[in-house]
């Protein structure tokens, strides 16, 4: 038997974790469990990014996605998780229809993935010659409008600016949106929403 090619081993590990927890998110009924499975799935995804040689994006995934977005999501879960919303069952008809459509989609996507020979990966001999190149500086240069990998100046400076301003506007807007309505509710409504024991599991 050939020696194990370790990147493949770790791909299998992270890939199975990512897929397994993604399926768990789908099948879980408890919203808090779903959030936990989602954290695990997205963390494993960042492992996949590292394996593909995108270390900066992997760290970004951990920092923004897992450390930022998901904390936000969990806040949402905790603020709204009254007893009757923690467990919400899906109707059987939805499941059957969903699995039919989803299964068809999955089979198609997998078939497409393996139908191009070049996508199946490189030879082991060639793979062992490869040197992992750093990505931080090229990415930064790309965001600043200069491309180091291809030369030229077709970077993403404008897009970067737009995204930054967009993020700022969105965050201010979201804060306003979430805040304005609360102050408009009646006092009785307000107290019923922040009932601390309401979020506890039964």
């Amino acid at each position: 038997m050939d020696a194990i090619y370790w990147p493949s081993f770790f791909f299998l590990l992270f890939g199975l974790l990512a897929c397994g927890f993604a399926v768990a998110v789908l099948l879980a009924t408890n919203i808090v469990r779903m959030a936990f499975y989602l954290i695990m799935s997205l963390s494993a995804t960042s492992g996949l990014f590292f394996l593909a040689g995108a270390d900066f994006v992997g760290a970004m995934q951990l920092m923004i996605y897992v450390g930022g977005t998901l904390v936000l999501l969990i806040f949402g879960v905790m603020l709204t998780s009254q007893e009757r919303f923690v467990e919400m069952k899906t109707m059987a008809g939805d499941w059957i229809f969903g699995f039919l459509a989803g299964g068809a989609l999955l089979v198609t996507l997998c078939w497409v993935a393996f139908s191009v020979p070049a996508w199946r990966g490189i030879d082991r001999a060639a793979a062992e010659q490869l040197q992992v190149e750093p990505t931080v500086a090229p990415l930064a240069m790309g965001l600043l409008g200069a491309r180091t990998d291809e030369g030229g100046e077709h970077g993403y400076l404008l897009f970067f600016e737009i995204v930054s301003v967009h993020l700022l506007v969105v965050l201010v807007g979201a804060a306003y949106l979430a805040r304005a309505k609360i102050s408009r509710g009646t006092a009785a409504e307000r107290t019923s929403h922040v009932e601390p024991g309401a979020a506890l599991p039964k």
């Binding site: 469990r33 900066f56 450390g67 904390v71 931080v136 979020a199």
Partner: protein, 429 residues
């Protein structure tokens, strides 16, 4: 990488190398916690005019933590009846894993072959990202315990950690800006030589940024005066109210692990990393080839330097804990949003201006940065030097040829090309 005669692609060699790394990293967290808990007891004792532990293990009670650990192992592992079993059981391990994983990318000595489990090109970013994950263990513990105190503690911690990530990130960017790399090895090597090269003394802005970083690090690892998540006067014990025995001790180990890692980060970013105040290893000539005895010795001295600095940082954290009273939660948030974040942002801007106007001055502008560290400060510095070199060569060429009117323009455009090309050749970083 190979271990002795075992090549890296053989099963045994790879697994062995991995196991050695894992064992070392886990030992740092576990043994570190052992030492730090003992240290905390001694320091708190001294600050409160007591002796602290004196009996277990001889004169200084240095085996006290071990005795505590044995006691914790034998304790009953309780779980509240209303708890969410899976999440309750898994939460301490989530915290602990996040605390360990941060050590993956922290180098303990520099050079071409640093003492690091994994040399990540975006090292500091990775470490900060992983440290931010610890909050999930707390949130899960708080939610799944089915206790109001736990939930309140978890919510406080979540709000606090997420807010404090912002000023921490801004302060950590200041050294990155001065060095020109996210790689912790570069950042440490940049500060080689006398202590005047340490980035904390680089300019007034980094000096203040260091203190802001330390304050925010204190808050992000939930140490007093920012330990609102476990404020015993209000919340019993906060998020770990319902935990007991070994699970509880995992939270404790995670806390001490992350304390140590933020101190390590402070030492690498600002306090010279593995370089002592005086370049002793250089004077002794302990900078030999990789794999030789002198290299090992030099690297070990470097690692001892770094660990010493970080331990000092942890001691300062303990000193603060037993000196200052706890803040209120609104004061904690105000400290972050009204003070730390604006100060950090200002320091960042100041450092940018400093770097722009006085690129090679350090020690508050009193001395020049040694030229040897320019090479470490890769990125723009190096590209600029290369571009100037090529420009000089080009000018020589053109002087030989006939004079043209748009000479400067061609030189400029060809220099720009050269910059892009050299960046491409070096793979950027």
């Amino acid at each position: 990488m190979s271990v002795g005669y075992l090549a890296s692609d053989s099963l045994l060699g790879y697994v062995l190398a991995a196991l050695v790394h894992i064992a070392l990293i886990i030992n740092i967290v576990a043994v570190g916690a052992l030492v730090f808990i003992w240290l905390e007891r001694k320091i708190s004792g001294r600050i409160q005019d007591r002796l602290g532990p004196t009996r277990v293990g001889g004169k200084f009670g240095w085996l006290q933590t071990l005795a505590d650990g044995l006691k914790l192992i034998t304790k009953e592992d309780l779980m509240p009846a209303g708890a969410d079993g899976l999440l309750f059981k898994i939460a301490p391990y989530v915290s602990f894993c996040a605390a360990i994983a941060a050590y993956l990318a922290i180098p303990f000595a520099g050079g071409d072959h640093p003492f690091a489990a994994l040399r990540v090109n975006s090292g500091i970013f990775f470490v900060l990202a992983v440290l931010g994950l610890e909050v999930f263990g707390t949130i899960l513990a708080g939610y799944s315990s089915a206790s109001k105190w736990s939930l309140f503690g978890a919510m406080r911690e979540a709000a606090q950690v997420v807010s404090y990530e912002v000023p921490i990130g801004m302060c950590a960017v200041v050294p990155v800006l001065l060095v020109g790399s996210l790689d912790l090895v570069y950042i440490g090597d940049m500060q080689a030589g006398l202590f005047t090269n340490w980035l904390v003394f680089n300019d007034p802005f980094t000096f203040i940024a260091f203190w802001v970083y330390f304050t925010c690090a204190l808050a992000s690892v939930n140490r007093a005066p920012f330990d609102l998540a476990e404020a015993e006067s209000e919340l019993v014990a906060g998020f770990h109210t319902e935990y007991s025995g070994l699970r509880w001790s995992f939270f404790f180990m995670a806390e001490y692990g992350s304390m140590f890692s933020v101190s390590l980060l402070a030492a690498i970013l600002f306090l010279g990393g593995w370089n002592g105040p005086l370049p002793v290893t250089e004077w002794l000539g302990l900078t030999g080839e990789v794999g030789t005895l002198s290299w090992y010795l030099g690297s070990l001295i470097g690692a001892a330097n770094l660990i010493g600095k970080a331990t000092f940082g942890v001691c300062v954290m303990m000193w603060i804990r037993w000196t200052l009273p706890r803040l209120r939660i609104d004061q904690v948030m105000a400290t972050c949003l009204k003070y730390c974040t604006p100060i950090a942002a200002t320091m960042f801007l100041g450092a940018v201006l400093w770097q722009y106007n006085l690129p090679h001055r350090n020690f508050f502008g009193l001395s020049d940065r040694p030229a040897a560290t320019y090479a470490v400060s890769e990125g723009w510095e190096l590209e600029k030097a290369k571009a100037e070199q090529e420009k000089a060569l080009l000018e020589q060429d053109i002087e030989g040829a006939e004079q043209s009117e748009n000479l400067d323009e061609t030189v400029e455009s060809r220099t720009a090309e050269a910059v892009v090309k050299t960046v491409a050749l070096r793979g950027g970083n």
